[in-house]
Structures are given as structure tokens and as C-alpha cells.
Amino acid sequence: MIELKDVHKAFGPNKVLAGVDLKVERGTSTVIIGGSGTGKSVSLKCILGLIRPDSGQILLDGTDIIGQPSDFLDRFGMLFQGGALFDSLPVWQNVAFRLLRSPRKAEARDIAIAKLRRVGLKPEVADRYPAELSGGMQKRVGLARAIAADPDIIFFDEPTTGLDPIMAVVINDLIREIVTEIGATTITITHDMSSVRAIADRVAMLHAGRIQWEGPIGDLDTTEDAYIRQFVGGLAEGPIEAIR
């Protein structure tokens, strides 16, 4: 349902994406792994239309969406790395942001509170402001916002970065449960291997602006691919240079 074909993107002399090909089937959870600065976030932002690729195609259900009006975003939910909560709005208005601007406006607050409960937050949190919450709570609010309008497609950008190990497990489990529950197609980018094992149906590894390896999660530990071996094993020695 989402397909990237030979997507290129450079910022000045820095070629971030050098021909990314990736196919994500409906209802599957794909995790993109790779070191920092390998273009994981840029790939997601290209799909969302936040960054325009230099060349290539991005197909959503067979239609190229590059440069198209952003109506297709109604089907998307996104959890940003830092939460990206609107700090001028209370928590519930953050969660219900899209609903408040839709015909479902009247029930927006109730849905927001239900979604907050779904991510393990009490209704009292609804009227607080994002700045008053801890990092883990902000992440959960971001997750509640991403799922608030029951999207078909959800992107998670580094969902566990900056969280303590326990909170990371909680967030991973929540993502897995919610994805199974609403049957959404998801792409997660992370370099946290515990996230990968908790969330992924399929794994794609991005290296030097291309998909270096792609396969089901079950193959991750058996593949002979040297890049995957080094990344999964967390080894300093290997084809991926430690100094970038």
C-alpha cells in the first residue's frame, strides 16, 4: 500500500537518500533501522510530504503522492520523536486536534480522554499543559494524538528514545497492542533493537541512503548480511564505519 521507488534526496552536497526502494504491505508493521544520519527520518518526512524528494516515486495505494495536495494526510497518524505537542494547548486539545476541526467536534473531548486512558494516562492529565508532563507522559500523549482519529497508517519516529528502559517496554507494548487492535499499517524508525523485536513484522535496514537489507523479523538473527550482523550485534568492527 505504501511504496517508495528509487527515492533520492540531497541537502546541498549531502546525499541523504540515494535511491530508496521499499514496499510496505497493508496491515503490516515495518521497522526501519539504521545508524544516526542514514536518512530514516527524511524517508518518513518524504512520505508525509514534509520534504519533497529530488526524484523517484512515493505510491500510496498505487497513486504517486509527491507534490499532491495533502488530503491524503487525513489517513495518517504520526508520533514525533520529541512528541511535538503544541505547548499552547492543553493535553486533551492536543489529542483531539484533528477531531476539533472535523464533524466529530462535539465528542472530541470524550474521545481524547478515552485515547488518553488507552495509553495509560488518567483523565486528570487532560487539562494539563504538555510542559507540565514528564518525557514518558509526553510520549504517551503523542501516541494518543497519533491514534486519536483512528488512522489507517501510523508512523512512529524513535518511539523509545529518551525513555527509561521500563517506560520503553511500556511504549513498545502499547504500540504493538494498538497496531493489532486497529489493524493499521505502520512504519517505525528506531535504532533500539528491543523496539524492533517488540514491534516489527518486517525489518528494513537503511544504510548510506539505500535499503541495505529487508526481510521478516524472523530472519533478522539468521541472515548472513554483514551490515545487519554488525548492527544487531552492536559491533564496532564491520562494514558500517563507526566514525561518521
Binding site: 518526512k45 508525509l48 510530504g49 514534509l50 495533502s70 488530503d71 494526510l73 487525513d74 495518517f76 497518524g77 504520526m78 514525533f80 520523536q81 520529541g82 511535538a84 505537542l85 503544541f86 505547548d87 499552547s88 486536534f97 484533528r98 476541526r101 494524538r145
Partner: protein, 258 residues
Amino acid sequence: MLAPLAALGRGTLAALAGLGHVVLFALSTIQHMLTPPFYAKELAQASLMIGYFSLPVVGLTALFTGGALALQIYSGGARFNAEAVVPTIVAIGMVRELGPVLGGLMVAARVASSIAAEIGTMKVTEQIDALVTLSTHPMKYLTVPRVLAATLTVPVLVAVGDSIGIFGGYLVGTGRLGFNSAAYLTNTMQFLEFWDIASGLVKGAVFGFLIALMGCYYGMNSGRGAQGVGAATKSAVVAASVLILASNYVLTEVFFAA
């Protein structure tokens, strides 16, 4: 040998490119202003922030300026026995020139900076990207309400500032310079024409537009991190102030040079 010329050329090209970007940003703002969806709540909030909360600073500026103007005109006028013109000149000076310009500059310092810092921080923390993914156009949600609010409320601030400035002149005129209270008010009203006041309000609207536009433009184009937001804030205030003074000259030329 050509190096200085090349540097000059690069600077000129960069300045022209910057000007082009600002003009495109302004046109885009106007285009989004005219097409739905409209965010009435955001407009009301921006009007409160930009208009209402700027009243104290604009009022104080006008009060002291009006007072100082009365003193200056009195002492200057005394050189050719024209002390009696104080009320008239204070009124005309305030409504045509000092009310809009000083009010505009104070609002620029207060509002252009805060808009640039707020939107810049939103950009740096991916809140602008989040808006887009929530199917909300940042220009419509952030820029249009602020620019519209400033364009509508700065003329009101100017009107209030004009009144307070004239009152400042009146206080000094009657309290320090020995003017008769009734005569001062009569003289103020007698030579003040409708266009004197209206031209100042039009200037206020233009300044308001420029102030919020610069705040939004530099905020939206903010660099990364705290340094980027700091630079955006500084540039917004400098650009808004210079544009106010430059456009004030152009508008004065258009309105009164005949």
C-alpha cells in the same frame, strides 16, 4: 582584484533573494487569508495578545512623547514668538507621525520578537511538521491569524496612543507651560483635520501587517536550536523596525507630498 566586487555582488544577490522570499511569503499570506478554512479562535487569541496586551506599552510611550513634544515646541516656538502653536503641533505631530511610528516600533519590539520566538520554537521542536501531519496548514493556522490580528489592532492602538499623546501634551501644556485648559483643547481641535487622523490609522494598519509578517517569516524560517531561534527573533525585530521607518517615509510621501 575582483574579490571585493564579487563579495558586493554576492551580498546584493543574497539581499534581493531575501526580499523575493519575503514578498512571496507576504503574497502567500494574503492568499491564505482569503481562502477557507478560517481559524476564528486563533484570530481572537492573537488580537488579544497583539492588541490588548500592547496597550500599556503604547500608552506610556505616547504619554511621554506627547509631553516631551509640548516642551520642545514651546521652547522652539519661543524663538519666533509662536508658543501658541503648541496644541496644534502636538496634535498634528502625534496623529500623523509620532503616534503610528513610535507605537509601531514599540509593538514591533514586543510582538515581532514574541511571534518569531514562538513560531521558531515550534519549528525547531517539529510542532510545525506536526500541524501538517494533522492536516492543518501552518500558514492558515499560525501566520494568517497573527498578521490579520496585527493589521486590525495596531490602528486601534495608534488611535488610543494618539489620544493619550495629545493628553500628555495637554498635561504639560496646562500644568507646566501655563496654557488655559479650554483654550488648549480648542486649539487642538481647531486645526486637526480628518485626514490627519485617518492617514495615521492607515499607517498603523500597514505597520501592523509588516510587524506580524516579519515575526512569522523569521519564525517559519528559523535555524536549528536555541541559536537559530535567537537569530530569528533578532532579525524579526530589526526587519520590522526598518520596514516601519521605510514604509512610513513612503506613505508620508504618498499622503502629504503634493
